[in-house]
Amino acid sequence: MASSAAATAQPLDRTRARRRAAWRRRRLVLLLMAPWLIGFSAFFGYPLVMSVYLSFTHYDLLSSPKWIGTANYRYLFTQDPQVGEAVKNTLWIIAVMVPLQVVFAFGVALMLARARRGVGFFRTIFYLPALAPPVAATLAFVYILNPATGPVNVLLKHLGIDGPLWFQSPSWSKPSLVLLGLWGVGNIMIIFLAAILDVPRHLYESAELDGAGPLQRLRWVTLPTISPVILFSVVIGVIAGLQYFTQAYVAANVASGQASQAGDQTVNNLGYPEASTLFYPVELYQHGFRYFNMGYASAMSVLLLVVAFTITVLIIRNSRRWVHYVGAAK
């Protein structure tokens, strides 16, 4: 009897000991993760939850938030006359700038990967613009593309061409921002370059032995191998497009000729010219920090989060058809 009791007690002890060990392990993991968990909760989790709550309130930053149900969302979807324009501009910049940036960065990286001489010099030159702060870069572009005094139009005039109005024209302001985006494409370019240089040589050799020409090698070897990097660039580009703010803010203020400091509410140039650079985050900023309409700005930010999440999920789902991971089972 005594021996059978001891026999049942032993596995119980073992189970307890295993549980204790498992708990100790979990505790250690939690302890090691604590700095991240605290940071994530304080700077991401809390603001996110608060934004969702505030989106259902009227909140002017100065009085306590007042619950108003879905009124902010109703205004956002049915009445706000400027949000439609802001959405259109944001979609335009995503649809045009992101593909162009990816193609341009890939093209430059491809050329740099093939360069035989001055490799270091050219890599530095093409990467350098990415180091320029966005505000400084935008100021420089507005100056260079000034329709009356900028060097680009002066040069075009010498060639007998009447240059466009660039940042002063609603048709040219977004293309001008795209040019600025392409100029500063160094970060994506350097990732593409690393990926291209990482493509195994033997794949190219096998393809060459099979009679594949340069274009076929690009299509069937380079692109599939670097497809995870293309996916990464597209996702990052789309998210950056949804959050496009600094360049639009600076360009509008400077090009309008009435530059104002951040927070200065005496002049309103956001979106200049003719709301063509009024992107969704610019409109959100305007409501939150110019009109102290933080409840409505929160509703806008919640919508932005939902859209960013949905687009990212769609891209990733769609990517299963064209992204190949080396060594992954198909």
């Binding site: 100065l62 006359p81 009356a148 000729g257 003719e274 102290f292």
Partner: protein
């Protein structure tokens, strides 16, 4: 025994600390005689204007030995709001954006000044009606005016003489005809000198929300119930039609190129100051800029021309101004009020500050103060400010958000992208009403 020893030691240390603190306090009290409070005021001015303001405050300091005032410049409304939210507020705050007075008064973020005004028997009628209006919201007065910006007309006398013009235009049709006479073009057809540049967005006088033009046409923004009446008041369509016809005369693209080549409005190369613009509407501050940057410029100032059908409006103009108040949670309320009172109601203080920054002093008495430095150009703006027909933009629950909607329509209109004017203005009214309703959602304010 050991515990008793530690207890004695702690008691000894605490006792010594108490004695030392008492001794220090009595020494301080003995040397200063009276308690001196440090109070802080936040203002938006910077550089030379801040220096002038500090001069006014220094004079106050010298007259009040019980306080020392610290001035912090370069402040905007974001910083003011953040401070109020954090609870760490300065004693006095001022803002360039009078449109935000609705938020400040209604939320209680700036305290009600009525008890202080009553206690000191200050009648707000000492300020012109316009300044009274933009310092309160729905009867709650949480601010007072501290100098005003007044818009008037500037014209280049030398260019007038060369074109055979003898006096500034008084009506919009005169302005149009003078503008055409005074405009000079380059051989390629581009604009060399603009007689008058009506392009919305070109310098402050052409603010795209049309604020500087509205008083010149007698245009009303809202009716008695607060509903937007832009499509119903014919002044707006008249104003926009006049403005677009002059833009079209120049050519939209030509004006844009001219604007792009014109220097920043706060630089010494301002188009009017260097002779590239013959006439303009601008604020009174330009007098000081010209005096500093181009003292030999031969120019004149006058009230801006008005709608031909309303000559009685001549002499009026757009008025806006800096507002000053006391944030909630302030530590030295009485001292803060004493400073606000001095800065806003003392004719001498207003006059010397006005002399320093060449903004318009904001009490009726200070407009004729002997301390105001005489200047014929500046005098024009004192008269416009005192004119009972001068107006400002409405103070609403949505701040100046309605201005953005007017601007969005007006800039499209001048570019020829707005379609039918009447329908566009009707749509604008609906948008403004919906925006105000949204800003008042939940019964706030």
């Amino acid at each position: 025994m050991r515990r008793v020893g530690i207890g004695l030691l702690v008691a000894l240390v605490l006792g010594a600390a108490l004695v030392a603190a008492t001794a220090r306090n009595s020494a301080t009290a003995g040397t200063s005689g009276a308690k001196v409070d440090n109070i802080t005021i936040w203002v938006g001015w910077s550089a030379a204007e801040l220096k002038a303001f500090k001069g006014v405050v220094a004079e106050y300091d010298s007259k009040h030995s019980d306080v020392t005032v610290k001035v912090v410049g370069g402040i905007n409304d974001d910083k003011i709001t953040a401070a109020i939210r954090s609870g760490k507020v300065p004693d006095v705050v001022s803002s360039f954006t009078s449109a935000n007075v609705g938020s400040y008064c209604n939320s209680g973020a700036w305290i009600d000044l009525k008890p202080f005004l009553s206690k000191d028997k200050i009648d707000v009628n000492m300020f012109p009606k316009t300044s009274q209006y933009y310092t309160q919201y729905k009867g709650k007065r949480c601010a007072l005016p501290l100098l005003a910006d007044v818009y008037g007309f500037y014209y280049n006398k030398a260019m007038f003489k060369a074109a055979g013009l003898t006096s500034p235009p008084k009506t919009m049709s005169q302005l149009t005809s003078y503008a055409k006479k005074l405009t000079k073009k380059n051989s390629d057809g581009s604009i060399k000198v603009a007689g008058y540049n009506p392009f919305l967005g070109f310098y402050a006088g052409n603010a795209p929300d049309l604020s500087a033009y509205a008083p010149l046409f007698g245009a009303k923004y809202v009716d008695g119930s607060g509903k937007s009446v832009i499509s119903k008041d014919p002044a707006w369509s008249k104003m926009l039609t006049w403005q677009k016809s002059l833009v079209d005369w120049y050519g939209y693209k030509k004006l844009q190129k001219f604007n792009a080549g014109a220097a920043d409005e706060f630089s010494a190369s301002h188009a009017f100051e260097i002779g590239k613009l013959a006439m303009m509407i601008d604020g009174e501050w330009r007098v000081a800029f010209i005096g500093r940057e181009h003292p030999s410029l031969d120019y004149g100032t006058a009230p801006a021309p008005v709608d031909d059908a309303h000559p009685e409006l001549y002499g009026a103009g757009y008025v806006n101004g800096t507002i000053i108040g006391i944030p909630k949670g302030v530590k030295h309320k009485d001292q803060a009020w004493a400073l606000v009172k001095y800065l806003t109601t003392d004719s001498h203080a207003l006059a010397i500050f006005s002399n320093g920054v060449r903004n318009v002093p904001t009490t009726k008495a200070s407009l004729t103060s002997p301390d105001i430095k005489p200047d014929a150009h500046f005098k024009t703006f004192l008269k416009i400010f005192a004119n009972p027909k001068s107006t400002t933009t409405p103070i609403t629950a949505a701040g100046n958000a309605y201005g953005s909607l007017i601007q969005a329509f007006a800039v499209k209109w001048q570019a020829g992208h707005a379609g039918d004017l009447a329908k566009g203005l009707q749509k604008l009214d609906k948008q403004i009403d919906a925006q105000l309703k949204q800003a008042q959602a939940g019964g706030v304010p």
